[in-house]
């Protein structure tokens, strides 16, 4: 019993241990890694990725998958940039209205995604992938392949204004992390995600409106992708049809590395946080210790496998698909 208990505890904290080991490892090779300035750099990189990871965590907890993030982010980023400019181009004017509107727009995008999945009975994998392409296509159509600059100094304060060494966008990300944690632990919807992921038939038999829960999950994910889009635009000051590129890999990898099982029912937003930090620390650390770039991709893959091995409980599952 004691042994079982300790193993369970170890598994719970394994992702965090992996993160700490990585930090110690990179610091040992190049002490410059362990500095407030560098942690701020890692935090900036992680902020948009964390929002995407939290969004997809809700879907993965339900045992589904959402691959629409790249299209959703590109689309949201581009629509946000146009809307922001149309409403005055600065946070000082009506431009601020673009912020809540785009989160709503993202939620609608996710809702459509969920409806296609649930109503048309298309597997979430396929439905979301297709919606992602629609999003990217719409972004190309809107921009015609050009870059939309967002250079309002107030809005760019997300990146340039710092408190305690960290820019505002990091605090925004932390705030929405707490919102995500609240939804997950203290709302019926959050608990229903786990019910659906743990056993859909049982959840249905217990009176959970599974279809509604699923659609809501996708809508919340869409809203988080839109927040990620705002942070991504804030980070580089521009929106384009490739604003969402690379987010699929980093978010899904992070979620899995953080200990959220792809088969649903376990894990949560805190795992997503640790997962995103692990991937960002690896990416930053490899450059900081001076690893040549042709080794980096291979090394990232290797470290991801090691992290998954250490941080997920695979003993309880009988079949790995």
């Amino acid at each position: 019993m004691t042994r079982h208990f300790s193993r369970k505890t170890l598994l719970k904290w394994a992702p965090l241990l992996v993160l700490l080991v990585l930090v110690v490892f990179f610091t040992a090779i190049n002490p410059a890694f362990f500095s407030l300035r560098n942690f701020a750099r890692i935090a900036i990189t992680s902020s948009p990725a964390l929002m995407v990871a939290i969004g997809v965590t809700f879907i993965i907890i339900m045992g589904s998958i959402d691959l629409s993030m790249e299209g959703a982010i590109s689309f949201s980023a581009v629509v946000f940039a146009f809307m922001f400019k149309f409403l005055g181009g600065t946070l000082d004017s009506w431009g601020w209205l673009a912020l809540p509107l785009i989160v709503l727009c993202g939620a609608v995008f996710g809702w459509v995604n969920g409806m296609i999945h649930v109503r048309l009975r298309i597997p979430s994998f396929m439905a979301s992938l297709a919606m992602g392409f629609v999003g990217t296509g719409a972004a190309i159509l809107l921009t015609g392949g050009n870059i939309v600059k967002v250079d309002d100094e107030l809005f760019r304060g997300l990146l340039t204004v710092r408190y305690f060494g960290f820019p505002i966008m990091v605090y925004v990300a932390v705030f929405f992390l707490l919102v995500g944690a609240f939804v997950q632990s203290y709302t019926p919807l959050g608990r229903n995600f786990y019910a659906v992921g743990g056993g859909e038939d049982l959840a249905h038999a217990s009176g959970v409106k599974v279809r509604r829960v699923r659609v809501m999950g996708f809508a919340i994910a869409g809203a988080y992708y839109a927040i990620a889009a705002i942070l991504a635009v804030g980070k580089i000051g521009q929106a384009e049809s490739v604003s969402g590129a690379n987010f699929m890999f980093i978010s899904i990898t992070s979620v899995v590395v953080g200990g959220v099982a792809l088969w649903g029912g376990t894990g949560g937003v805190w795992n997503a946080l640790v997962g995103v930090l692990i991937v960002s620390v690896i990416n930053n650390g490899m450059v900081v210790i001076g690893l040549p770039d042709f080794i980096q991709d291979g090394m990232l893959g290797l470290l991801v496998i090691i992290a998954v091995v250490l941080s997920t409980d695979r003993r309880s599952i009988q079949v790995v698909k």
Binding site: P167, E240, N284
Partner: protein, 369 residues
């Protein structure tokens, strides 16, 4: 034998006879132009125009295709008369579309094409030769494939050298750095030829500046976000040692500028490549030291113009020297001093090119290493 079977056999026999007759007629008809107009294929009238490319999702390809449309309009047609064959990054689709276009217009075509990858240029050129159409390729072509080996139907190949202009931009950078200090290079996708050439250009310039150290070279995959993150990591590793940044394209430079902005670092000179409108504006504002402009609009127009003029018989490709059939497009290094003039000439107004001046902006024949 039942009447049914008898009728059937009779019917089939007649059908076969009809078929043979029809075939003979068809062959005769097909041979007619060959008999009466042997030279018809050499000087086609009003060839159908097409541009085959990946998609319009970047400022660069937008400019290429707009150039093709400018040329089409200059013939008194509308922009829609130029057919866009979009290959979506698939060589198979690229070839299939071109073959379909050739078949639809019975070979009476002038086509400009980026074959998507180098090996695909040969089947594209051969398909055009077989159908009697005329093609000019840009960017992708294997080194062993030459227009003069295929014949008049493969009119020309146009490319841009990344090495020389990248070297020039690096020299501008090193002078701004005062001839000493540390430089980092943020590259494109490592296996891309432009990425390799642009890095080589930097290395060539380094030979003349012994007090400048190349601190690090890493790939940013032509991507702004990746460049921001990579530059942030470089700052952690090298800190103040970085006194200049050499980027493989404009998108990467945008990311580098943002990484410096996040740190509150100002005054580190950055050079880039492509000459996109945003980058030129940054050169004017002083955020970017220099960028290289390759005039994609002219390239897109002239590639189609070459194929068109060969098709209507204005010139005979095989009578042209090799440097007219494989040549580099122009590259202009844009610095703060000339950025305003440059913007007025190329960005604020669309320059009107003489599309009959086929080699006017050529930067010389292609050199293989």
């Amino acid at each position: 034998m039942s009447t049914f079977i008898k009728d059937f056999i009779e019917k089939e026999t007649i059908n076969r006879r009809n078929f043979l007759l029809a075939t003979a007629t068809g062959l005769g008809a097909a041979a007619m132009p060959g008999v009466f107009g042997g030279g018809a294929a050499l000087a086609a009238e009003n060839p159908a125009l097409a541009w085959s490319y990946r998609d319009r999702a970047s400022a660069y390809w937008n400019a290429i295709v707009s150039g093709g449309e400018d040329f089409t309009v200059s013939l008194g047609k509308t922009a829609a008369d130029m057919t866009s064959l979009i290959n979506e990054g698939s060589s198979e689709k690229s070839l299939a579309d071109i073959k379909a276009f050739l078949a639809k217009n019975s070979g009476n075509c002038a086509i400009a094409c980026d074959a998507n990858d180098s090996p695909n240029a040969r089947p594209v050129a051969e398909a055009c030769k077989e159908a009697g159409g005329y093609v000019t390729t840009i960017w992708n072509k294997t080194d062993d494939l030459h227009p003069w080996d295929i014949g008049d139907n493969y009119v020309a190949h146009l490319s841009w050298s990344g090495e020389k202009p990248s070297e020039e931009a690096a020299r501008v950078l090193f002078k701004a750095m005062g001839g000493k200090g540390g430089v980092v290079h943020l590259g494109g996708i490592p296996a891309n030829i432009p990425a390799i050439e642009r890095l080589q250009g930097l290395k060539n310039a380094l030979v003349d500046f012994p007090e400048i150290e190349l601190l690090d070279v890493q790939s940013a995959d032509w991507d702004t976000q990746k460049a921001t993150e990579l530059m942030a990591s470089f700052i952690t590793r090298y800190g103040d040692k970085i006194t200049g940044v050499h980027c493989a394209n404009d998108n990467i430079a945008y990311g580098v500028i943002e990484a410096f902005k996040a740190e509150g670092i100002t005054g580190v000179p950055i050079v880039a490549f492509d000459g996109n409108p945003e980058a030129v504006q940054m050169v004017i504002d002083g955020a970017l030291l220099a960028t290289v402009f390759t005039n994609p609009r002219w390239g897109g127009g002239i590639a189609l113009s070459l194929a068109y003029h060969a098709a209507i018989g204005t010139f005979k490709p095989s009578e042209e020297p090799n440097e007219h059939r494989e040549f580099y497009g122009p590259s202009i290094v844009v610095t703060h001093d000339d950025a305003m003039d440059f913007k007025a000439k190329y960005m604020d107004s669309t320059p009107v090119y003489d599309w009959k001046d086929l080699w006017g902006q050529s930067a010389g024949g292609i050199v293989y290493k």
